[in-house]
Amino acid sequence: MRLESIISKKTLPGLITGFFVDRVGACLVEESHGNLATKISQVTSLVNQVYETVGDRELKGVFIKGEKCSLYATIFEKGICGLLLEPQAGLEKAESLLSEMIQSITEAPLKAVVGYPKEVLTEIEKMAKEFLKDFAETVFMVQMKQCQVDKENPPKEQIEKFVLGLEKAGGMIIGPSLAKEMVEKIRKELGKYKI
């Protein structure tokens, strides 16, 4: 069964919504709870950071039970899958629904990723150097790592996130106006590609 149907089926009494956040931060959540997508994305980013910092690879499941509702999330190789639950929701059924969601993602056929040619990264780096000078290399590398950009065939979503990261980091070095100018130039270059 596809993840979208599992999330929307509401097979679990007390389920507010299920969600999946992939490794670049894109959040899939039940349509009626679309307003939660940004918050869920922020929370999963924090969960990932703590997971990486603690370094205990064994503990991939996180359950936080609050008075009003609970979060149950599992970290796996493709991202984070989770559930937002009302207090009365049964934990045992939640555990099996989470497993079902992960299985549906793991077994899903890989989508063909249409991305930019790898040369686009060289172009972006060249433009970043024009503006960020000596800081360009470090900022470029840090953002590449943070956005987990595929160097061979960078997908559109990764490049968009990467460019936003360059603007944010660049703004702290050269000021927001110049950083915006840099990003506009990069976007103009990206516009030459039909993706």
Partner: protein
């Protein structure tokens, strides 16, 4: 808190002061990084609570295939338990909550 050791699946426990990493008592066997886990996950859970409006946190559970860690807010303290494999959070949490409730 020694009574926690009588619950099937509990390998060890640590009683923390709720607002700090101070260990008040401990028993059984827990992983060497147990305090670190608490130190990182407790404030992270508070951020999650505020972002998603979960309300007052009652329990934090961390689970893997070989071990589980449960942190339960109890009175003014935080009770941490390490649970062995073959016992799921869904099985152990109600038992722990019941025993803690009876003890108070």
């Amino acid at each position: 808190m020694e009574f926690l050791m009588s619950i099937e699946g509990v390998k060890g426990y640590v009683l923390f002061q709720e607002e700090g990493p101070t260990v008040l008592s401990k028993g059984g066997n827990v992983s060497s990084n147990f305090s670190d886990l608490t130190l990182f996950w407790v404030p992270a859970a508070a951020v999650v609570r505020d972002t998603l409006d979960l309300g007052r946190i009652e329990t934090i559970g961390l689970s893997g295939t070989k071990k589980r860690v449960v942190l339960i807010y109890h009175k003014d303290n935080l009770v941490g338990c390490e649970i062995g494999e073959n016992v799921n959070l869904s099985q152990i949490l109600p038992r722990l909550q019941e025993v803690l409730k009876r003890s108070s």
